[in-house]
């Protein structure tokens, strides 16, 4: 059946229920498996990363499948997808796969096909010079940075996603194309606290953050919002009903209570909070999802705020690089970034990375106490001597 060319296709606006198909769900996965996957489904014996970006899976049947993993911007055009299809048609019987972290995977069933495929992929560049299909993202390196929509398509972001991810990925490219780190490092990006990408368990998380409370658009709030919903949306009860001088319904905001989450704006467009000076980037580190060796853990805020310096975010890029390089030099084999920070102690993390420790890094939200240190076991760093000095002159010689 051909795609329709009529303006409204096969939809009849006079009878919207006519021929409407619903609840079809997704297409079944089986038809999209290449033969080598169909034949060996559930029979895989082991795998090996042959070189960065190239995996070999060996089946109990003796069959092998070679996967070439390529980085990609998750934002892509139909022209780029058509090029992916062209490659899939040429080398992979028309099949292609995408990973959870937005990489593209091309699968072939022989070493000969693998070599020509790799060569072709490496040769493809955008006219301005960047790779179209950089090979990498496997093993103990940095793989694709998952991210959210940002200014390309979102109404609540505190920063842009695609540009920041491009800037950071350019800088971390050698880690994408090499497996030189102690363990894999997962970098993730979300443009506001809603975290569509749920980045809160990443080795390094980049997070857009607002710093100014919402402005109330008194003139329209009663027309464009359900005011009770906006009031109920505030997790700290900072929004209350109010009247305009003309007697219209509106709200007032206890600004000192605001936690800048933007939940009110999600519910009510008359409460915008984005702001050029206010918005910026928070960096978190040390989270993980995998249950390997240590339990999964949350990322911790290590830099409260950096400016939105478009388009390349030099401060963000520098910080990420610094954390990564110190970790790479200092951690043990198999040690994830968070495991390393816990082993050396967070005081040493700040000393070694040179990141500034400020009051913003001490939790003062709910259950904050869980993160306070209730022990005499600590390590001395310059920060400790600063406290001792401030607490009272005496013997301090740090």
């Amino acid at each position: 059946m051909a795609l329709s060319l009529d303006r409204l296709g096969i939809f009849d606006p006079k009878d919207p229920l006519k021929d409407r198909l619903t609840d079809l769900g997704p297409r079944h996965f089986w038809q999209y498996f290449p033969p080598v996957i169909q034949n060996n489904y559930g029979k895989w014996a082991y795998h090996e990363v042959l070189e960065t970006g190239v995996l070999m899976h060996v089946s109990e049947t003796g069959d092998k499948v070679y996967t070439v993993r390529c980085g990609a911007a998750r934002f892509m055009t139909v022209q780029h997808v058509r090029e992916i299809c062209e490659i899939a048609d040429q080398y992979c019987d028309g099949f292609v796969r995408f990973t959870t972290r937005n990489n593209i995977e091309f699968l072939v069933d022989s070493v000969e096909k693998l070599e020509v495929l790799k060569k072709d992929l490496e040769s493809r560049k955008f006219v301005s010079g960047s790779y179209k299909f950089p090979i990498g993202g496997t093993g103990a390196g940095v793989t694709n940075i998952v991210h959210t929509q940002g200014y390309i398509h979102c109404h609540t972001p505190a920063t842009d996603a695609s540009s920041m991810v491009k800037a950071v990925s350019d800088e971390l490219f050698k880690y994408f194309q090499g497996m030189t780190l102690p363990a894999k490092v997962r970098v993730s990006m979300a443009c506001c606290l809603n975290m569509c990408g749920a980045v809160h368990c990443s080795d390094i998380a980049l997070l857009g953050n607002h710093r100014k409370p919402p402005i109330v658009d008194h003139e329209v709030i009663d027309k464009v919002c359900e005011i009770p919903l906006a009031i109920a949306a505030c997790p700290v009860g900072a929004i209350s009903p109010d009247k305009t001088p003309e007697g219209g319904k509106t709200v007032k905001i206890k600004k000192e209570r605001c936690m800048f989450c933007g939940n009110c704006y999600t519910m009510c467009q008359a409460l915008p909070l984005s702001d050029k000076e206010g918005d910026g980037v928070t960096i978190l580190a040390g989270g993980k999802i995998s249950n390997r060796i240590s339990e999964p853990k949350f990322s911790k805020v290590v830099v409260p705020w950096l400016p939105n310096n478009f388009p390349r975010f030099p401060e963000v890029v520098e910080t990420v690089k610094k954390i990564l390089e110190v970790y790479a030099a200092d951690a043990n084999k198999y040690e994830r970034l968070g495991d390393w920070a816990e082993r050396i102690g967070w005081e040493k993390f700040f000393e070694k990375t040179g990141l500034e420790f400020t009051e913003h890094l001490i939790d003062d939200y709910r259950l904050a106490y869980d993160t306070w240190r209730t022990s005499t076991q600590f390590k001395y760093t310059a920060a400790a001597w600063d406290v001792s000095r401030a607490a009272g002159e005496g013997f301090c010689n740090g």
Partner: protein, 77 residues
């Protein structure tokens, strides 16, 4: 079913609000008819949607129900 639909429409017409979470509707119906089950109420809502009496209103993150033509139901453009 018709009885549930009637209760829902009456509630939606008389409430001060114009957008309702499913839960608000469920509670309102069960106030009148304590035996009404969640599944039946959902079926009645779906029927009202399909006949065009009610519409969905979505912020993207959560979805509400509203009577067509009541409150803020116009495309903002």
């Amino acid at each position: 079913m018709d009885e549930l639909k009637k209760i829902i429409v009456e509630f939606a017409e008389t409430s001060k609000k114009t957008k309702f979470y499913f839960k608000d509707i469920e509670k309102a119906v069960q106030k009148v008819n304590p035996d009404a089950k969640m599944r039946e109420i959902k079926k009645a809502c779906t029927a009202l949607i399909n006949e065009g009496t009610m519409i969905y209103f979505s912020t993207g993150s959560s979805t509400m129900y509203g009577l067509k033509g009541r409150g803020m139901t116009e495309d903002p453009q």
